[in-house]
Assembly symmetry: C2
Homo-oligomer: 337 residues x 2
C-alpha cells in the first residue's frame, strides 16, 4: 500500500498560460485534523525530494508532532510523484512537460487543503530548500492564511549566483548526447553522473570536505563519496524531472506575479506570518547573506543561522545536531502566539 494519496485537479491553468493536463498532487499526512481545523502544518518538499525524505522532522516529541498537528506533505511537481515529466502522458510527457512555477504549486496545494480537508488557514508552513521557496510563496500570496513560516536553507527569490550554479548543473547533464533534448529512451547516464559530481561541490561546504565528514556518512574516501553517493543519487533521478524542477527553482520569486509585479521588497513586506529564517552558515548556494536581506524586509521575522559546516545539507536530515537545531526552533515558533 502506498504511504501517500493523490489529489487530482484535472486541467490546471498554469501561471505561464499553458495547461497542465491530468494534474495531480501526491501527498502524505500525519496526525488528525482537529474539529476546528486549526492544527494544520504544511511541509512541502525539496528539490527531487519526496514525502519520504521529509519524514525525519515528523514524530512524537518532535516539533512536528502528529499527536498535536495535522501535517500535510505535498510533493513538489516534477519530483516523480506529483505531476512530472516522468509520469505525464503525451502531449505533456518528458521534455514536453510545461513550465510549472512555485506559485502554481502553491495554488494546487491550496486547492488540496480546501477541497479535501476544508482547511483555510495554516498554523505553519515549513520547508527546506525548495520547500522554503514554497513556504515564502505561501506567505506572500496568502498573508491572511499563514500564521507561521519556517524557511530553512532557502530563499524567497532565486539569487543571481544561484542561477549560475543551476546553469552549470543543467549544462553538465545535457552535455551528454544521450540526453537527446529530453527525448531519451535510455537515461543519459554520463550526464547524470557528471551532474552528481558537479553538485557534490555545491551541496556541502569547503569545511565539510576539509574535515573529511563524508566519513560520518559512511564513505571511506572522497572518490567513494563522489561515486557511491553522488553519482548513484543522480543515476536514480530522471533527467527531465530534474530539468523541470530546475526551471521551477530558477523562476522562484515571490514577487513574480500580478500581486507584486516584481517588487520583491513589497512582497516580503506583505508577509504577515511570524517567520523564522534558518540559513545554513556555510551554505554555498543559499548563503546567509540572502537570508539576512530577506529578514531585514520581513515584518515579523528572526534570523537563526544554523551553526554548521554541513553547507546546504545543514537543513536536511544528514546530521543530528543540525536537525535538533531546526527542531528546537520549530518548537519555539509553534509555541509563540
Amino acid at each position: 500500500m502506498n504511504n501517500y494519496q493523490i489529489f487530482s485537479l484535472g486541467e490546471f491553468l498554469l501561471q505561464s498560460g499553458c495547461t497542465l493536463r491530468d494534474s495531480m498532487i501526491a501527498y502524505q499526512t500525519f496526525g488528525e485534523l482537529s474539529p476546528d481545523r486549526n492544527n494544520v502544518i504544511l511541509y512541502p518538499t525539496r528539490f527531487y525530494g519526496t514525502h519520504n525524505d521529509n519524514s525525519f522532522l515528523v514524530g512524537p516529541g518532535k516539533a512536528l508532532d502528529p499527536e498535536k498537528y495535522f501535517i500535510v506533505i505535498p510533493n513538489l511537481t516534477g519530483n516523480g510523484f506529483s505531476s512530472s515529466p516522468s509520469n505525464s502522458q503525451e502531449p505533456i510527457d518528458r521534455a514536453n512537460f510545461p513550465n510549472v512555477s512555485i506559485l502554481d504549486n502553491v495554488l494546487m496545494q491550496r486547492r488540496l487543503l480546501r477541497e479535501v480537508f476544508g482547511v483555510e488557514r495554516l498554523r505553519l508552513v515549513v520547508g527546506w530548500s525548495m520547500g522554503a521557496q514554497q513556504a515564502y510563496h505561501w506567505g506572500a500570496l496568502f498573508p491572511e492564511e499563514v500564521e507561521r513560516i519556517a524557511a530553512i536553507a532557502g530563499s524567497a527569490k532565486t539569487s543571481p549566483h544561484n542561477q549560475v550554479f543551476l546553469e552549470g548543473m543543467k549544462a553538465a547533464l545535457t552535455a551528454d548526447s544521450a540526453w537527446k533534448n529530453g527525448l531519451y529512451i535510455e537515461p543519459p547516464v554520463v550526464g547524470l553522473r557528471a551532474m552528481g559530481r558537479c553538485w557534490a561541490g555545491w551541496a556541502l561546504s569547503q569545511a565539510f570536505y576539509r574535515q573529511h565528514l563524508f566519513r560520518e556518512l559512511g564513505f571511506a574516501s572522497l572518490e567513494e563519496f563522489l561515486t557511491d553517493f553522488w553519482e548513484k543519487l543522480f543515476l536514480k533521478r530522471d533527467a527531465n524531472n530534474m530539468l523541470a524542477q530546475i526551471w521551477t527553482w530558477q523562476h522562484s520569486d515571490i514577487s513574480d506575479n500580478s500581486l507584486y509585479n516584481g517588487d520583491f521588497v513589497r512582497a516580503l513586506q506583505a508577509i504577515k506570518a511570524r517567520t523564522i529564517v534558518m540559513p545554513g552558515e556555510t551554505d554555498l548556494y543559499f548563503p546567509p547573506e540572502d537570508s539576512i536581506y530577506e529578514v531585514n524586509h520581513l515584518p515579523n521575522a528572526e534570523l537563526k543561522t544554523i551553526p554548521s559546516v554541513w553547507g546546504h545539507y545543514a537543513g536536511g536530515s544528514a546530521n543530528t545536531k543540525d536537525v535538533d537545531f531546526v527542531d528546537n526552533n520549530l518548537k519555539r515558533l509553534l509555541s509563540l502566539d
Copy 2:
C-alpha cells in the same frame, strides 16, 4: 615576432617516472639581469594562463618594475606554450601526454634559470592561483634559494573541496561524447561550453553576482556573461591541455615528494622565505581558511586577505582595486629585508 622564448630540456624525467620527450618551457622576461644576478623575480602562470595574462602586474612604477628587476615568467606545462598535449608529438600527444607535477615544473624552471641565466637565487617568487602553487613549491623544495614568496589566491596543497570542484569540471567537460577520451579531432564544443558554465559559479562569489558586477566587465545580463564570457573563454581552450593542468592542480602538494614524504606541516615549516599570503576574501575554491592554516605553519609569513567580492578573481587582473592591493603588498614585501 614572438614575445616569448623557448628553453628546450630534451628528455625530462618526471616525478612519475615517465619521460617528457622534447620538453620545453616557454618564457618571457622583462628588465635586465643585474651583474650580480640578484634582482630576479620568478612569476609563474595560472591555470590556462600564459605569460601574456601575467603582464598586468609588470611595469614601471609597479612592484614588478622592469627598471629594477629581472622578471622571468615561465609558462606552466599544459598551457599550450610550454610542453602540452596540444603541442607534443606522438607518442605523447593529446590524451597520451604524461602527468606533470608542480615539482616537475619547478625543476624545469630551475634549470632554465641556471642554464640560461646563471641565476641560483630568487628575490621573489610570486603567483596567482596555480602560480601560487608553484611559488609554494619553490619555497619548500629550495628553501635556500627563495628569499620571498607572494602566494595569491592559491594553496600549498590542493584541498579536498578543491578536488571535488575539479572533479565536477572534468565530468562536465568529458560528458560530451565528442571528447572521445581525448582523441577528438574536432573539439568537444558541448563539453567545453558546459565546463565554462560550471566554472562561472566557482570563479566569482555570490556577492559578485548579487551586485551584478558582470556589468563592470561589459556584460548586460547574466546570460550574456555566461555565454559571451564563460563559454567563449572555454571554447578557446584545448580539452586535453585543461585536463593535463587539472591533473597537475589536483596533485599539487608541497609535501608529496621524497623530501617530506607527505608531511605537509613539515614542508610548510621548511619554507624560509619571507612570505605574504593573499587569499581572496570570497574565493570559493581557495577559501581564506586554507590560507590561514598555511600561514599558521609558515615560519615567516603574514596573511593579507584581499577584501573583495570578486571571488577567486580577486587576485587576477579583473579589477583595479584588488590589483592595487596586491601590488602594494608586493612593494612592501620587496622592500623588506
